[in-house]
Structures are given as C-alpha cells and as structure tokens.
Point group: C2
C-alpha cells in the first residue's frame, strides 16, 4: 500500500479551524458544554471508526477503532481535546478562539496543545481509507478531555476499559519536538512529587523587640532545614535520594552526546549570571538525566518587626527512572523532621498526584520505527533523541495498566507558546506530520505483534 | 511645700474622656484636623504655662513652660498626643473613640498610649498651682503628635528649638511598667535597624521541570544565607556583631537579678514547645541585655512548580549599648554578600530610621529619685529596674541634641492592649501616678542643677 497524498491543505485547515473554535477549557466549569461539544465533534469525525463519546467521572473520553487487519499490530493513538484557559485576552494579537493564520502559522488556544497535532493521525487515517480503502495496521483511538487538569479520570477509565483498549503500542500525538530546526523524538520524561513544609513556633506573631532572642524563629528554622537539602555544590543532600537512579545505558549516553547544546546560549536564554548545578554533569545531563529538588515557594512573616508564628515552604522533585515517588517523599519527610531545630514544630504534607518518571529505550522498535519515518520526511536532518523535564502521567498509566510503551510522535514544537498567549502551530509541521505518521504506520505494520511489546 | 491632694477623680476622668474623644490618628491623613484639634486641646490646658501649638514639617508639637524657680532644676516633660489607628472596630467591645469605664479601667484608643499617662503630669502641675500657687521646680513641656509614626519631625525640631528646651533631665510620660503587680522603672531600651535582602536569579520564573538542576534557585541561595546568620545554637554568626556590646555594670547585673522571671510561665505565654536562644544567658538576659538578629519575613515563588526569579527577606536587629547601627548594618551587608552562593545576585538595602539603644544608669540621680517616689506610693512593693525590648527614638534624640538623660516615668502597664483592640488604662494607676509624679518633683527639686546632668 502506498502512502496517501496530503495535498488538500485547504480542507485540513478548515477542519482544524472548526475544532479550534470550540473553547474546550477543561478547568473552567462554565465551559463544560464546550468541552462536550469538542468531544462530539471528534466522535463525528471518527464515525468511520465507530467514534463515540464515553462518560467518565469528569469530562468524557472519545473512543474509536478500526481493527480490520487481523495478524497485524494494533496501535492506540492518544491525544487530548481539552485546552488551557486563554489567560489575559489582551495579551493575544488575535482572539484565542478565532483561529488566525499569519506567516504559515495558525494562532489559537489549543493550536499546538493538542488540537493541531491530534488532527494529524485522524487525517492520516481518513486519507488511507479514502485513497486506499483500508489502513496498514489496526488503530484504536483514545482522546481525553482532562489532560490539562491532570488526567484525573484516566486511571479509572483505563482500568474499566482495559479490553477495549488492548494494543501493542501507544502512539501519542501529545508532546513536542524540542526545536523547530531539529526533528526529535522524546524518549524520557521526569516524574514529579510535591510537598509542603509547615513550621509552627509561637502561638501568635511576636513583637521582635519584646521577644527576640528568647524563642526559635520559624523562619530561621526553615532556612536551616532548606539549606540542608542540598550541599554547597548543589547536590541533593537527602539520604537515599540518588539510590535508585539507574545510570544511562550506553545507547542512551550516545544519543544524549549527539544532541548539540550551547551552554552559553542557554545561560543567556534563562538570564542567569552563571549556570550552576550538580558537579560532574553537563547542563544538559542535569536537565535531562538527573533528579532535582527545588524549593518553589517560601512564605512567612512580612515587612513588620515580628517573629512570625508560622513559616511555610513548597518543595517539588523531578524524578528519573527508577526513583519511586513514595520512597523519595519518605526520605525527604524524614530529612526535614530530623533536621528541624528545637523550639518549633514541623509538619510535612504530601501533595496528591505524584507521577514517576517515564522512559522508552532508544532501541525500542517503536522508537526505531519513528526514526525511520522522520528520516523519510527530513532526509537532511538526522533526528535526535531528546528528553522532557515535565511529566507524562498518561504514558505512566498506559505502562502500568495496559502494559504497553508509549511512543511520543507529536509535530508540536516546544517554542509554540503552549499554555501562553499567542499559542500557535506551524502549518508546515502539520503537513510534515501527516507524511511522517503515514510512514510510521507503514513501518510499524511490518513488525509482528510481540515485537512492539518489548519493554 | 506639701504634696497636693488628688481627690477630684470625677474632674480628672471628665478631662481624660474629653481628650480621648479626639481621634488624633497621626498615620491617617483623613484625621489631620483631629490631630491638630488634640494639639489645641493640650495647648489650652497648658495656658497657665504659655501653652502653644508650634508647627513642624509634620504634625505640630505643643510647648509650654513654667520657669519661676531660678536656681532650681528644670525638667522637660515629654509625651505624645497622637494615637494608633483603631484597627478593626468590630473587635472592640466599646467604640474606640467613645471612652467607656468598666471595672476601674477606661477603654479607648490612646487610653494607655499615651493620653492617660500624659495627663498625669499635666494634672499634677495644675494641682500644685491651684493648691500651692507654684511648682516645686521648673517644668517645660514638649508633647509631640508623631510618636506613632516614628517621631519623624522631632530631630529637626529639637535642633531648631534647642534653647527653648534647655533642661537638666527629660521625664517621659511615655513608656510602661512591665507588670500590673510590680512597680518598675525602665532603664534601657534596645536599638533597631532593619534591612532587606533581594536575591535575583533567572530573568523570569522558570518551569522547574524544564530548568531544574541547571540554575541556582534564589530560594536555595536565600536559605543558605539566612541559615548562616546564626550558628546552630542561636548565637549570631555575623563577624563583629557582638564586638561593641558592653557588659552590664555590677549594679545593672544586681538590678537584673532582682527581677523575678518564671521561664515556664513565659514559655506558656508565647506558646512555644521550648524556649531557645543564645547559650550562656537566661531568657531574661536574652530578652533585655543581648542584641538579636531576626528574620521578619521571607517571600519568593508560590505554590507552582517554578524556580522563582527573585527571593526576598526582611531582617531586623535589636541593638544594645554600645552597638553602632551603621557598623552592624555594614557587618551584616558584608556577611550576606560574602555568603551569597554563585549563580544569583544579592542586593542589601538598609531601611531608614535606624535607632541606637538607650540606657540610663541605675545609679543616675533621676532613677534614684524615681525609686524614692515609687516607694512612697507603693511602700510594700520594692520597685524593679526593668528594660524594654522596643525602641525609644525620642530618648536617643534628647541625649544626642539636648545632651540630657531621659527618665521613663509612665503609669501605663505593658498589658493594657496598646496598639490593639480594647486598649485601656487602669484608673487607679492614674491616681497612683499623680501622687508619684508629685513626689518625684519634690525629690528632684532638692538636686541642684549639675547633679541631674550626669551621664
């Protein structure tokens, strides 16, 4: 079966604009109806695959499947139809829900995250059907409406629909290439845990003249605890923090070494006087392969001469394989309680929603298939294997519940203002994406089912 | 000359109520007219002493004098007629500017700070005049309207009115006895300096997943700096901080030892799990005789997973004799800049209004006179010499510009809710105060002028 042609750019643009006009903001109860409208729009578009809107405890999930190639592998295409709120509309050059094309880019909330990239595999499937009468492999679709609110119904849904979702590999239309000039596949993302430290001292704020020197100041105690979390070089000093970190495989190390990274350009980009981090690692290694512990916020007292009653800090960690979120939370809790000075009481509260790290090996047949597909579309640019500092809760859940790996194959790019004003998607990436997904399906179709299920 | 009698309680109460009804809130521009009305009310009351309202750059100062005893000492009576804002009026049991007597206490904003205590010497002077036709010594009055806003016009006023204010001793009607059951004279107050630390890292808040581990987090750097300000025992670790602290004299040590202090009761009062402070000192010594450095506020970041761009802390120190505010500020600035980790930039900004510590020796003739006067009124209670953790900017200015010591002789008590809702003044203290001030003037009248000018 030949690759279909994707020449009807006007039609694809019209469909994307229609989808982008629906303000499917999952975090805003006032848009509940719009979220459902987006789900129904998608189900209509998947009518050829039995597209349907399925209820959850939250926003619905859209399912569909085309399984007419027995003996061929089955992939599960994942994406999401919900979007972030637009924020301050005054900061947008064109209204967030009136998609506007300028300089080969389409501007709208959701353009790159994830409506544009999501329409790519849907369009590819339809083109195969229209032009060749069938797909090269079996395809299921799972499109959720809660990615922007932590995929909170996804775990229960996967558990209760396990059979309906059986597949050899998830291919996600969510995610992003790291730079517009270099095609790339993300092979790892970090995990995330967060916790709050609360130190309580006196029963009310005390006048620092009347009481200073006689009681432990919760802010002093907090500074002592927080400064004990790292050594002077920036390495995390919590006992056991690095214990379960697995070293990169030789192949992972090689693919990392191939990624060009200009430290001075990065320093200018983030605007710091000097880069800083765990000794013995390059900046890119620190960013992509090392777990981190960051204090995200501290508050206590004010600008009066008081000894405050209470001091608080929010901490979060970005985890790497094979760190276990619960074990790291326990280690930090123990460290904080053990290093709390006399005279104040410490409480450590874990935030819900811990997510472990996710990784797919660079030699996984799905990744290798993706590299071949990218090479076809970008013959002059060797694709890079990159990593993501953020989290992919869905990929973790697919592995845990469906027992399959997830290949991230998105044609979004990290610079396209996702979650910010003037979000956009490059229209040439949409076209590249269609060609690449078609190529990917051809390659995957040639891998007999057990081959894609390796871990 | 005999001591006058103070039997006309109804008249004194009526006058105090009249004064308390004027909402002379110096920090509130909307009450500028009320502040002036309070000044005029006082000038009227001092008509017999040439009472007059004198302009400053801020709220006016009331002056008056009776100097008809050449050869006798001259005292300058100090007090203030401005008050704090009432705060949330819902927290008051009776309206803050409708003075109400309950259980021998008068409740109103300003009752104890400082309108009640201030009327004591005015009433005493008037009683001497009415009952004996003259005062036992020369008296000047200086009553300011900006004590609650940092006495900001006082320095310039003292400089430009030095001759009009010449005296052998200032006797202040502001201040407070430390407990209702034990008559006391404060002989020292702490100084105050304040400064802000600002640490700046990246040019904007960074996503902690995308950038964590590669840049110095301003909150980590701040924790490291703040925790370096004290050693693990709570002693200030800034080089030179204690260099100029003078040890207590033998007499000061003895008067401190005579002050009963129940550490366990104090611990319960402030509500801490355990007391804490500089090793080698009792809690009372820490509170009254040792300089302190407290972090009053910290802010930076929030509850999102960011590395914040900026982190801030407010610090203040309570100083003792003979610490020089400028030298301590310099030492802290140097410490902060030297201990700032790589990767962030530190700025240290000094808050205006540094005040050095103030002290009057326990064997000063003014203090000895005050002890004799208190003994007459409270024959069964040996008066204590106590210390104040707060600041007395006015006493410092009187010493610096007028070259005289200040005796604090207030009949306010520290528990009378000053600066808080339901401020009150004990009416029996008002009566005690009149008798004590009359006694004090008798004793001071017997000390020939150079005797009161010792330092």
């Amino acid at each position: 079966m030949a690759t279909p042609s994707f020449d009807d750019a006007a039609r694809y643009l019209r469909e994307l604009e229609e989808f982008l006009r629906i303000p499917s903001i999952s975090s805003d109860a006032a848009h509940r109806g719009d979220v459902r409208a987006a789900a129904e729009w998608l189900a209509d578009r998947l009518a050829w695959a039995g597209g349907r809107v399925v209820e959850t405890d939250g926003h619905p999930i859209v399912l569909g499947e085309w399984l007419e190639r027995p003996g061929s592998p089955t992939i599960l295409v994942y994406g999401h139809y919900d979007v972030q709120p637009p924020g301050d509309e005054a900061e947008w050059d064109s209204p967030p829900f009136e998609p506007t094309v300028r300089d080969g880019r389409i501007y709208a909330r959701g353009a790159t995250d994830d409506k544009g990239p999501l329409l790519v595999p849907l369009t590819v499937a339809q083109a195969f059907l229209e032009q060749h009468g069938s797909l090269p492999l079996n395809v299921r679709f799972l499109i959720e409406g809660e990615e922007e609110v932590g995929s909170r119904s996804l775990r229960a849904f996967l558990r209760s629909h396990r059979d309906e979702l059986a597949a050899d590999l998830v291919v996600s239309a969510d995610g992003a290439m790291w730079r517009p000039t270099e095609p790339s596949i993300p092979i790892a993302s970090k995990g995330l845990i967060a916790l709050d430290i609360t130190l309580t001292g006196p029963s009310s704020d005390l006048h620092s003249g009347r009481h200073g020197g006689a009681v432990q100041n919760p802010l002093h105690a907090l500074a002592r605890i927080l400064s004990s979390l790292h050594d002077a070089d920036g390495k995390v000093a919590v006992a056991g923090f690095y214990d379960d970190v697995v070293p990169l495989t030789e192949l992972e190390g090689e693919s990392l070494d191939r990624v060009p990274f200009d430290e001075e350009a990065y320093r200018r980009e983030v605007g710091v006087p000097a880069l800083y981090g765990e000794p013995g690692f390059t900046t890119l290694e620190r960013l992509w392969t090392r777990p981190t512990l960051e204090v995200n916020g501290v508050s206590g007292g004010g600008w009066f001469t008081v000894i405050p009653r209470i001091a608080r800090a929010r901490l979060s960690c970005r985890l790497v394989p094979d760190q276990r979120p619960e074990a790291i939370l326990d280690a930090i809790r123990e460290h904080v309680l053990a290093s709390c000075p006399a005279g104040v009481e410490a409480a450590v509260d874990t935030e819900p929603g811990a997510v472990p790290a996710y990784a797919i090996p660079p030699d996984h047949p799905g990744v290798q298939a993706a590299l071949r597909a990218l090479h076809k579309v970008y013959p002059d640019n060797e694709p890079l294997l990159v990593r993501i500092g953020g989290t992919l809760p869905a990929a973790t859940l697919f592995e845990e519940i469906l027992d399959v790996k997830t290949l991230l194959f998105s044609f979004s790019t990290a610079d396209e203002h996702l979650h910010a004003p003037n979000e956009f998607f490059r229209l040439d990436r949409m076209h590249d994406g269609m060609r690449a997904w078609a190529e990917l399906w051809h390659v995957l179709a040639g891998i007999a089912p057990p081959g894609l299920r390796v871990r």
